[in-house]
Subunit: 339 residues, 2 copies
């Protein structure tokens, strides 16, 4: 069994969860998939943890101890030097997303793909800014660029759209793709005002201090752009979409909806219109016969309307760093293991 | 682009739908997946349609005309002779399922796998009777034996469990896997008696004349056995399961459930208990917080409880021959195309 190196770039909550999950799953991956992975390095902005131990000794506790010991971290070597030494493996890119420049993820991904490394990422920025370039670069080099972690993480929207619906024509995709705004809508439908619900969500760590990206619909729009790229080969620009968030809904509108047995949900839609792909994000009034009506709280869901398999709906998936880490690991397994 | 031969064995509603779907999708498969498939032969019990035309000329209408013209059908050659000529491709096995002997599907699948052909099947019998043998035979010969069509057809239970949940520990699977009994339960909850609901379902073509296999839970049990084989490598025998159908539910029980805001659903469950895999099928009383509560009518659904991705639920999928045919085609694409 060949041991494949993994380099982790970015060490926020998802990066940390990934490192821990990988250590936890090492033995299982060997047994179940014949896959021996070795976490070789963790890169933060200006420091790095280089793991030189034998794979066997890297259990989760040993790794956590190392991570927590400041003396384990040294000055960060260049990514190039790490990519060039030894056999190529997988770069896991989870640095902070910059939707305008795509940096620094763009550079990391490009370097990996030109050095023979596969890439698995949860970083939306580089994909949104340079999807076609990076996708083609991977293709030309016979490598994979996988990004389940950047679309709906543990909710396997990408796999289902690509693998499970292979051969169908996807006519329409509708999703509740942002857990934060869905949580707010759920609480508001229960009677909370927008500001009450937001405060509560912020206290629970569900909403960011600056919630604009989530509640104004941009997170959903970015996910739609990536899904469109994956399913239709068309990477939509945010400017091409109608994007309306939930922050303009009034308590009155929510009360009325509830009285009628309806619910507002922030729906991201993607559909074919003649030869082009259209997308929009906006609060929509759903009735109970809609497949996404019952997706409440921080849950996410996605429905695919197809020509030959009917409508298929997916919901759930853990919305936390561990869920995102599991999506990254799943993508790695699927690079090497063909079911 | 190499053209790969497809042989279709079995020509009931699913076989016919598959032949038509393949003809319909031929150009799209080339364009999207670089996959050129050629339907070489359709075998019925004692006759065969051998298609010798160039691929380009086999559009859907031409194929349907051929199928409907009795003079196109000739005496059935041996499957062996067809498997031996030219390069190997995919055998699509959709003969009638015999859950006791697995025949004739077992022979067909074994012949294909020993002749270098991949197999895609919707036939539960041979898998239930000889899963390990056939699975290992495929593995030894570096071939694929895929059976989405035998588990929940267009509902991608197998793909999600294998591909999307790769690397997770599946702790529990719960499914509404039989559309017929779910339809009956839905109608009974609306006030119909069991016999009224059954008569109606039979008139609509939803229930078989002899509904025992569906309503007594055996169809669900067989699907659980196949899912267990795929996910846990353990092919359970039906005798090892507690199987209770919906035919013993009284109108009184259903009325009571409805009054309390609950629903009876025929749930197939699969779970790990220490080192062994357990399965049972029985009507369970669900409350609205259960992910499968809202799966009504002929719809199917399945929930996976995992260690690292939370709970993921899938629902929908066209329950008809075209949906099953699309699942067969999807499996073929996934043999040759690695996403």
């Amino acid at each position: 069994m060949k041991t494949l190196p993994v380099i982790l770039v970015g060490f926020g909550p998802v990066g940390r969860a990934f490192a821990e999950l990988l250590a936890e799953k090492m033995a299982e991956l060997k047994e179940k998939y014949g896959l021996s992975l070795r976490l070789e390095a963790i890169l933060r902005r200006s420091s790095a943890l280089l793991l030189e131990e034998k794979v066997e000794s890297l259990d989760k506790r040993a790794l956590v101890n190392k991570i927590n010991d400041p003396s384990s971290w040294s000055r960060r070597p260049s990514l190039d030097s790490l990519l060039q030494q030894g056999i190529p493996g997988v770069l896991v890119e989870v640095t902070t997303s910059d939707l305008k420049t795509g940096q620094p993820g763009y550079d990391h991904i490009k370097k990996a793909l030109t050095s023979g490394w596969h890439v698995v990422t949860a970083n939306k920025g580089p994909l949104l800014v340079s999807f076609s370039e990076l996708h083609n670069l991977a293709k030309e080099n016979n490598l994979r660029l996988k990004f389940s972690g950047a679309t709906a993480a543990a909710l396997p929207a990408l796999d289902v759209g690509l693998v499970s619906l292979a051969g169908t024509e996807i006519r329409r995709v509708e999703g509740i793709l942002n857990g934060t705004s869905n949580y707010l809508l759920t609480r508001m439908a229960e009677g909370a005002s927008y500001s009450e619900a937001l405060k509560e969500a912020q206290e629970k760590g569900i909403a960011e201090k600056n919630p604009a990206y989530d509640v104004e619909g941009w997170d959903t729009a970015v996910k739609l752009a990536l899904l469109s790229a994956a399913f239709f080969g068309v990477c939509l620009q945010l400017e091409e979409m109608e994007v309306v968030g939930i922050n303009q809904l009034t308590p009155e509108e929510l009360r009325m909806a509830k009285q009628k047995g309806l619910k507002f949900k922030l729906i991201g839609s993607l559909w074919k219109q003649k030869e082009s792909i259209k997308a929009k994000v906006r609060p929509e009034l759903l009735n109970p016969s809609h497949a996404l009506f019952f997706v409440d709280g921080t849950n996410k869901g996605i429905s695919f309307v197809t020509d030959s398999m009917g409508t298929i709906t997916l919901m759930g998936g853990q919305s936390d760093p561990r869920g995102a880490a599991a999506a990254l690991l799943k993508d790695i397994i699927n690079i090497y293991h063909h079911f």
